[in-house]
């Protein structure tokens, strides 16, 4: 076959798809969120622990999805628990994706208005952003994966470079003492570390679109592993460079860190500009992924064509984005998403797996 029309993605593309879905707003919101919850420098332990938990859960998701080749979670949940409960579950996931998409756009708009476009009306930032997302979603999962593949190496390079340059501010004493206040704060921090990994649920739809679904485990490991390492780096570099107290007092600690040093002799003295640029692209990937997953979900749960659904979601996402009035509402929404995430994370895949096993092994149903 030379001219391909099937909408399948390769294993590498799957990994990059997951990475680009997970790695997003968290780079900016994670350090403060997790420090506010834990209030100790041990937060990197929370990230480490959270990462491991997330990887375990995603493995359950992958194994579950591999039972139903060519079926997404929206389709196989109906087969496991019946049409109506499965549909309700699908609707929950869709709502969750839409809210996250709106949340990401809002964070994006807030940052852009704060650092780049002061005084620009918020709709002028949000609407073109959603339109470009719509354009890319129209190409289907393959086109989206390809766009991610172009953006991914650039953003990872700049991200790592800017962390590397900020090592000059790094002070190991900011991270000490390790476990000075016991293990409890580490567990408190877990709540916000799970939020940053929201998005790995997309693997439940991706497996159905993979060329080689049997390689899904490897793809997921890489896909979660890259953002996991980068988040760990973020927390260590930011907390190590700024100390716990100043992180708590700053709205966007990562950017503040990058603003606080200058490199002479380059065109850009401060690294915050390239960082913001790649972060905007990264957030765009994030948004597109959720947008696409939500539209795919609606089209599969309600058996509609996908293109009208993508259009229909434009105003929905816009209104979702505009719902929080102030930035504090946005952060509150973020916490809520974290909680919803925990519910959907643990309950959905684990519950589905348990029911599936029960029906297969005990009731001997053919699902």
């Amino acid at each position: 076959m030379f001219i391909r029309n099937d909408d399948k993605i390769t294993t590498t593309q799957t990994s990059i798809f997951i990475t680009d879905t997970v790695l997003g707003a968290g780079i900016l919101t994670l350090p403060r969120g997790v420090i506010e919850a834990a209030k100790t420098p041990d937060v990197w332990l929370s990230v480490l622990l959270g990462g491991f938990i997330v990887i375990m859960v995603t493995m359950v998701m992958v194994k579950l999805s591999q039972q139903f080749p060519n079926h997404t979670v929206y389709q196989y949940s109906k087969r496991i628990v019946g049409t109506i409960p499965g549909g309700i579950l699908g609707v929950c996931l869709i709502g969750y994706y839409i809210i996250i998409a709106g949340f990401e756009v809002r964070i994006f708009a807030e940052i852009t208005m704060y650092y780049l476009l002061e005084g620009t009306p918020i709709w002028a930032i949000i609407i073109p952003f959603i339109w470009v997302g719509t354009y890319i979603c129209f190409g289907g999962i393959n086109a989206i994966a390809r766009v991610f593949q172009i953006i991914f190496p650039i953003s990872i390079f700049i991200l790592v470079l800017s962390y590397f340059l900020s090592i000059r501010l790094f002070d190991i004493d900011n991270l000490r003492p390790v476990l000075g206040e016991g293990v409890l704060p580490v567990f408190k921090g877990l709540k916000s570390t799970v939020l940053i990994f929201t998005g790995c649920e997309v693997i439940m739809t991706l497996v159905a679109h993979m060329q080689h679904p049997e390689r899904a485990v490897r793809a997921t490991f890489a896909g979660i592993g890259i953002p996991f390492v980068l988040y760990l780096m973020t927390v260590i570099v930011v907390v190590g460079g700024m100390s716990v107290d100043s992180v708590m007092n700053s709205t966007w600690p990562t950017i503040d860190l990058l603003r606080s040093f200058e490199i002479t002799g380059l065109i850009f003295e401060r690294f915050e500009f390239p960082f913001l640029v790649i972060w905007m692209m990264q957030l765009f990937c994030n948004f597109t992924s959720f947008y696409f997953n939500a539209s795919l979900g609606i089209s599969q749960v309600f058996r509609l064509k996908i293109h009208p659904v993508i259009f229909g979601l434009i105003p929905v996402i816009f209104i979702t984005t505009m719902l929080p009035e102030r930035i504090n509402d946005v952060f509150k929404l973020g916490d809520t998403i974290g909680k919803m995430g925990i519910f959907l994370f643990f309950l959905v895949p684990v519950l589905l797996t348990v029911i599936l096993l029960f029906r297969k092994k005990v009731l001997n149903h053919h699902v």
Partner: protein, 550 residues
């Protein structure tokens, strides 16, 4: 409970904006769909009309010399450039006529090897044979024993005969012979082989295609002996027919790709194909895309190396530009010189070209977004210098850039048409003096002159001219985006281009492969030009039959 929900409901302004965003998006969608449907409808209706056509009736030549001559005269003698030369073949006691179009045949060949032989030399041979008056054998006798010309055919059908005469063959009618003889004596004057002017190289063959198809295909053959090089001939054009050739390596090319190219060429429906640009536009995948979907080249070496990668070349009679399909984005920034030089300079030059392409596309947009929106993001001293030089410029940065960019584009367009002796002088006047005067007059800032000049020079460093045009067009889009939303607009612009490029395909090959879909093997020939010993495989993206180069 209710009050909480109501307090969170969006106000009417937000709702109006939401609906507006939806309506505009749908509007764009239908506009796009409508534009595409226009082309499809045209194609469909043209195909129908074509089916309705029936072929012209065949009439054969008769036994009577006079009747035949009359019929031919009736059909084509209204053309003043068709000549009828009647003479007597004394020994056979027969009248004969040569029919030819003025200026299309080699006169020396006709008079020396046809007329002289028929009028004088035929005697000795004819004297001892009496059966010559058998009309059926006369034709073969003339062909086999009399005429010392290599291209001689018999023609019995009137319509085809007329066509051949108009295409440059010389027809010979002899009294008593029921067939006409067609003598191939094409002798049109052609241009000498020159160095290709649109793709000059310092190192590499200086040979370029010409307007004659047979010469072009022979240039391909002369690149080296190979049984695998296949050249297939097609005829395109409904009213004026032209020869079109597709060339490929039989054991390398992917058969599905070959079939696709053949199908698309079969669908070409146009009364006249004036240049290979017509072919390019009639077989491309997406006519709304600013990017070209087949590469045009004047260089036979480029075509041959394309064929060896598993691509297909399309050559048209009457133009020195051959097409190579499928094309990928990276090909537009490659030059044959990359391979002729050693790998280190090849690699560095190629990276330079990528950088130049980026500048040609983005430099003015970045200038606008930094100057108008984010002067805080550039180093303070530089910002202060730029802003000082901009003091007194009465326009916003978009207008300022537009003034200079548009005048540079005009200069460039005029430069193509300027007569050679005054071209450089006008370039100096246009470029240097206008630029200098514009700064002095305070219309533009000197820093901008640097930006625009670098942009213009960068776009010339792109080896494929038509790719340079694409970047020139897109540059203006980038400038508008930057003028509306600053850096954010620029990023959106980059994202749109990324999105478009990743959707675009050329004959089924994704346009930005090997970057995405990622093919590590093909990266050896992307930003890097790996040393030749490492380039031992054909590009993965072409899915060739024979993967290894050695």
């Amino acid at each position: 409970m209710w009050s909480v929900i109501i307090s969170h409901l969006p106000n009417w302004k937000v709702c109006a904006q939401a609906i507006l965003s939806l309506v505009i998006a749908i509007g764009f969608y239908y506009l796009n769909k409508y534009m595409r449907s226009l082309v499809e409808k045209k194609n469909a209706s043209a195909q129908k009309a074509r089916k309705g056509q029936h072929l012209a009736a065949h009439t054969n030549l008769s036994d009577h010399y006079k009747d035949n001559l009359q019929a031919i005269k009736q059909a084509i003698s209204s053309n003043s450039d068709v000549h009828f030369r009647e003479f007597q073949i004394a020994e056979l006691h027969a009248r004969a006529t040569l029919i030819f179009v003025d200026g299309m045949q080699n006169e020396e060949l006709i008079s020396k090897y046809v007329m002289k032989i028929l009028m004088a030399d035929v005697k000795q041979a004819a004297s001892d044979r009496s059966h010559l008056f058998d009309p059926l054998e006369l034709a073969s006798y003339l062909q086999d024993e009399v005429l010392p010309v290599c291209e001689v055919y018999e023609a019995a059908e009137l319509h085809g005969l007329n066509q051949s005469i108009l295409m440059g063959f010389t027809a010979l009618l002899v009294e008593g012979m029921p067939h006409a003889l067609l003598i191939g004596s094409l002798g049109m004057t052609t241009r000498a082989i020159n160095e290709p002017s649109s793709e000059a190289l310092l190192r590499g063959p200086r040979i370029g295609f010409t307007e004659v198809l047979s010469e072009n295909t022979s240039m391909l053959r002369r690149q080296g002996y190979s049984e695998e090089l296949e050249i297939n001939m097609y005829e395109v054009g409904t009213r004026i027919k032209r020869k079109l050739v597709i060339a490929y390596m039989k054991d390398i090319v992917n058969p599905d790709l070959l079939q696709e190219v053949r199908d698309r060429i079969g669908k070409i429906n146009m009364d006249f194909i004036a240049e290979s640009g017509y072919v390019e536009q009639l077989i491309e995948d997406d006519y709304l895309s600013p990017f070209q979907q087949s590469q045009n080249t004047e260089r036979p070496d480029r075509v041959i190396s394309g064929l060896l990668e598993g691509r297909i070349a399309i050559l048209l009679d009457g133009t020195p530009f051959a097409l190579i399909v499928p094309v990928t984005f990276s090909m537009l920034l490659q030059s044959p010189e990359d391979y002729y030089d050693r790998w280190l300079p090849g690699t560095l030059l190629r990276m330079l070209r990528f950088f130049a392409a980026f500048l040609a596309l983005m430099a003015p947009a970045l200038y606008i977004s930094f100057i108008s929106f984010h002067p805080g993001l550039i180093p303070t001293e530089l910002a202060v210098t730029i802003i000082e030089t901009r003091q007194g410029v009465p326009f916003p940065s978009l207008i300022e850039v537009m003034i200079l960019e548009i005048s540079i584009e005009i200069l460039r367009e005029a430069g193509i048409r300027l007569p050679k002796p005054i071209g450089p002088a006008m370039g100096i006047v246009g470029g240097l003096i206008i630029g200098e005067a514009a700064v002095q007059a305070g219309i533009v800032s000197p820093f901008l002159v640097i930006v625009v000049a670098v942009t213009a020079i960068s776009s010339f460093s792109i080896p494929v001219y038509s790719a340079g045009i694409t970047l020139r067009i897109l540059r203006f889009g980038g400038m508008l985006c930057a003028a509306v939303l600053g850096m954010f607009g620029t990023i959106l612009f980059i994202l749109i281009i990324c999105g478009h490029l990743s959707k675009l395909k050329s004959f089924g090959v994704p346009y930005v492969t090997p970057i995405s879909p990622f093919r590590l093997n093909d990266w050896k020939d992307l930003f890097l030009r790996a040393p030749l010993p490492f380039m031992n495989k054909r590009p993965d993206m072409m899915k060739t039959q024979d993967k290894k180069r050695r």
